[in-house]
């Protein structure tokens, strides 16, 4: 079955390439744009996902420094944004793209979505986040998908907090975990990939069988899982364990109706269950203003921009020694070695893995 899926995947990549080539034909130029020179000017349009945010003052400083005005074009969640960008590659909806993550990266690179650009500061980014060997795109931030737990539940039930993926299949944690469907949800997919990384292609189905036997609950969307089913979310549901991000605890403090006085979140993260996600930025092929796009990507690695990221997008900066806000230092320990799979492996096998998952969990 996996053979068949791989063939389908190859077919699909070819067809996507054909499709985009045909589209590029309608556009003004081919995907290899001349290297721009001179100082940036005009307007840069950043294509990004719905979760993007940045402080007023930070953006104003960029315009003051470079004379370039920034326009933001949010075009859906991360997967939708990337697919939409590939589809419109011949006549892109902007100059730079931010928010493509390591799971989607090879789809973007294979279809020639970007023109190569590497800012000089990129050499300082730790190796862990350098997941694009071709250096076409630049890592900007990272956040991990981890199991979150409701502290109150475990204290009041006198129950030890689970630590590892294995723990989640133990009888004392029966009917406590809610996850997302990997075929409909990005964090759901990332968590399934964590189990593939841990138990291997051939073993992860067994793990999910044990989770199923232990009463795992599946939701199609993150918001229903976190806001309705999770006992630590706003809906105060029945499940004290949920798949979410390692930055969800600080986010729940910042966006609380009545923030806790000590600034400590009522939820925590199981750091041994995390799947690493790095978000990248790149200059779009056929960009109208590639020079300004490069300038903006340079700016994304400055201390000012990096330090603004945590409270705006609830992610960790990739540049070392960037100060973190107190709500982060108090509430998150970023996992040192999250599970990660090579992007090409994910792109090749994702459909087959999701199919295996579906056969195991939903039948």
């Amino acid at each position: 079955m996996s053979d068949m899926s791989m063939r389908m995947r190859t077919l699909f990549i070819t067809s996507a390439a054909i499709g985009t080539l045909a589209l590029a034909g309608c556009g003004a130029s081919s995907s290899s744009s001349p290297t721009p020179t001179g100082s940036p000017s005009g307007t840069v349009t950043l294509v990004t996902h719905d979760s993007y945010a940045i402080s007023d003052s930070v953006l104003a400083d960029f315009t003051k420094q470079t004379g370039v005005t920034v326009k933001i074009n949010k075009t859906g969640d991360a997967a939708a944004m990337v697919n939409r960008a590939i589809l419109t590659k011949g006549s892109p909806e902007g100059d730079a793209l931010f928010g493509i993550d390591n799971n989607l990266l090879s789809r973007g690179l294979d279809s020639g979505l970007f023109q190569s650009y590497q800012p000089s500061a990129a050499s300082q980014i730790p190796q862990t986040y350098q997941l694009d060997p071709s250096h076409t795109v630049t890592p900007i931030d990272h956040a991990d998908v981890c199991v979150n737990y409701d502290k109150t539940y475990f204290t009041s039930h006198n129950l030890t907090v689970p630590q590892t993926l294995d723990d989640l299949t133990k009888p004392e944690y029966k009917n406590l975990l809610v996850v997302q469907n990997p075929s409909t949800s990005t964090p759901g997919l990332a968590f399934m990939l964590a189990t593939v990384a841990k138990y291997g292609q051939d073993g992860f189905a067994n793990y999910w069988q044990s989770l199923k036997n232990n009463g795992v609950k599946v939701e199609n969307s993150w918001s229903v899982a976190y806001d309705k089913q999770f006992s630590g979310g706003s809906g105060k549901g029945p499940y004290p364990l949920v798949v979410s991000y390692d930055t969800s605890p600080p986010a729940s403090v910042v966006y609380a109706q009545n923030p806790p006085k000590d600034g400590i979140a009522t939820t925590g993260v199981l750091t041994d269950t995390c799947y690493g996600q790095v978000e990248f930025a790149g200059v779009l092929a056929n960009a109208k203003n590639p020079r300004a796009a490069q300038a903006f990507i340079d700016f994304m690695l400055t201390k000012q921009y990096q330090a603004d990221l945590p409270l705006q997008q609830f992610v960790f900066p990739v540049m070392p020694d960037t100060p973190l806000p107190e709500v982060f230092t108090k509430n998150v320990t970023s996992p040192e070695h999250p599970f990660v799979l090579p992007a090409t492996e994910v792109n090749t096998n994702r459909d087959a893995w999701v199919q295996t998952w579906t056969n195991t969990v939903q039948h």
Partner: protein, 542 residues
């Protein structure tokens, strides 16, 4: 009728809508289908996707949940339509307004409300048993809540215009009420029952947000599958092939329903005005309708309002007050308050477009001997997946003379595509009811077609026109699917803002989302209640 210049009238009234439809619907649709399927490799991939074993389950689930939803909606709405058609009672316009509010609520909000009702701590948990806090029960409840309005409105308007003397005659001859309903009323209602049931089927068959948010494992319909293929997996060929399957199902349905139902023209000879209930039985019917209708239509909004005023440690206006402020001084976070303004501007523009185009279609249909099947064509946009059309618009209007992709106008145009069929459906019966002899007389006296329309038709259809404008306004206010693909991200509408807020953790975001939803409901209800004022004087004259 119009013996003088029928060809001219026909071409003038149809040319504009056809051009509009071809440019903004057919052209992007064909563009995306050709892009996705325009090579042998793509066709092979589409075939592989289409014949995957899971697709059988998807098609089966799409059909059976839509059939079940439609049956339930008809079961709930038809008795309600009878009460609305025949009786006058306190709270009547409130229930009508609430039902339209239901029709235009964003799916994310209804899903949230239904989960709150049926969820682990919900008051209606007993309805679905201990395990099914979501799944098919929740989907059916949400669909009944959404679609009851359209059936209530279509059927009750039609029913009110049926001649009651036939029923009276049958009663005099000794037929039981059930017998009268079955052999006298039902056959005459058949056209409107089929027409409204097919619209409900259309909506529930292509339902997206409700299925995605409330559906459990394995509960995936075609529309959700298309969006997953296109947006999540970037399998455009399979997405396009599934879109074609969906279009075929929808076209077949429309053909069958229009063939069976014939023309939607009530006989309208002696119309009975709604009156107060007399007999005990009638009192029970009306009372049951008020209680049942309020329970169905009031509970979900009530959950929203409760959450909107819940401040975490009590009750108050905090969620509403915080709508005008943006978190953390973030420039890209559009204050939800601004979304209200965007929604109003878009909805007004979309209403004007829908009235002009839908009105022209209605005039064209009534003045020419077009077969009923053609009326169904205008319903097609409802059956086409929003993501398919949205991506089509993205690549069809990307360059050259048609580089309108990011323009303001694309949003109201996309919304109008959804609203046009409703405007047409509301106006056609009204126009048909205008006596042709009046028009003929005016034409004989030398009036131009435009003058005939202005002096004869317009005054007579004024009420239907206002009602359909309100409906179009409400539809575009709540429209989410097309808007999310076409809208410029710096001009989000209320449903888009609600969706964004619900996708972020934190009780404050949840509270703001519910506050915005409450505002959307209040706006819709206000519009509908306002138009009720146009209703009463006219009814007295009839």
């Amino acid at each position: 009728m119009d013996q003088h210049r029928p060809a001219l009238v026909r071409s003038a009234t149809f040319a504009i809508p056809i051009a509009f439809f071809a440019l903004f619907f057919l052209y992007p649709l064909v563009t995306i289908l050709l892009t996705a399927l325009g090579s042998t490799a793509n066709l092979k991939q589409a075939w592989a996707g289409l014949t995957a074993p899971v697709m059988g389950d998807v098609l089966w689930f799409s059909v059976w949940q839509a059939v079940a939803s439609t049956a339930l909606v008809m079961l709930v709405a038809v008795p309600g339509a009878w009460v609305l058609a025949r009786f006058r009672f306190p709270g009547r316009s409130l229930i009508e307004a609430l039902s339209v509010v239901a029709f235009v609520m964003p799916t994310v909000v209804v899903a949230a409300a239904v989960t709150a009702l049926l969820g682990p701590t919900g008051p209606l948990r007993w309805l679905v048993g201990s395990h099914a806090d979501h799944g098919i029960g929740a989907i059916l409840l949400a669909h009944v809540y959404f679609e009851t309005a359209i059936v209530l409105r279509m059927v009750s308007t039609y029913w009110a215009q049926l001649d009651t003397r036939l029923e009276q005659a049958a009663a005099t001859l000794g037929a039981s009420p059930w017998r009268i309903f079955r052999s006298v009323t039902l056959p005459r209602l058949r056209p409107v029952l089929l027409a409204s049931a097919s619209i409900v089927f259309l909506f529930t068959f292509t339902s997206f947000g409700i299925i995605l948010l409330l559906g459990g494992p394995g509960q995936v319909n075609l529309e959700v599958e298309i969006q997953q293929q296109v947006l999540f997996l970037f399998n455009l060929p399979t997405g396009a092939a599934l879109s074609i399957v969906q279009i075929i199902v929808v076209v077949l349905l429309l053909l069958v329903s229009s063939r069976l139902s014939g023309r939607l023209t009530p006989e309208r000879s002696q119309v009975a005005t709604p009156r107060r209930p007399h007999t005990t039985r009638q009192h029970i019917a009306v009372g049951g309708f008020i209680v049942g209708g309020l329970a169905l239509l009031l509970l979900p909004p009530l959950m929203v309002v409760l959450q909107a005023f819940n401040t975490g440690d009590g009750w108050g206006w905090t969620n509403f007050q915080s709508l005008s402020t943006s978190h953390q001084g973030s420039v890209l976070f559009v204050p939800p308050g601004q979304a209200i303004g965007n929604s109003l501007i878009y909805a007004c523009t979309a209403t004007v477009i829908a009235i002009v185009i839908g009105g022209l279609v209605a005039v064209g249909i009534t003045r020419t001997s077009i077969r009923p099947a053609v009326e169904g064509v205008w319903l097609l946009p409802l059956g086409v997946s929003a993501v398919t059309l949205g991506f089509g618009i993205l690549i069809a209007f990307d360059s050259g003379a048609l580089a309108w992709r990011g323009s303001f106008w694309m949003v109201p145009i996309a919304q109008a595509l959804v609203a046009i069929p409703f405007v047409t459906r509301a106006l056609v019966p009204a126009l048909r009811a205008v006596s042709p002899s009046l028009r003929a007389a005016a034409a004989c006296l030398g009036a131009s077609p435009l003058q005939v329309f202005r002096l004869i038709d317009l005054p007579l259809i004024w009420r239907a026109l206002v009602m359909s404008a309100a409906f179009a306004f409400a539809i575009s206010l709540g429209e989410f699917g097309a808007t999310v693909f076409v809208a410029n991200s710096d001009r989000p509408t209320i449903p888009v803002a609600i969706y964004r807020l619900l996708s972020t953790p934190g009780t404050a975001n949840q509270g703001q989302a519910m506050a915005l939803a409450a505002i959307l409901m209040a706006m819709t209800a206000a519009v509908v209640l306002l138009t009720e004022r146009f209703r009463l004087p006219e009814q007295r004259h009839v």
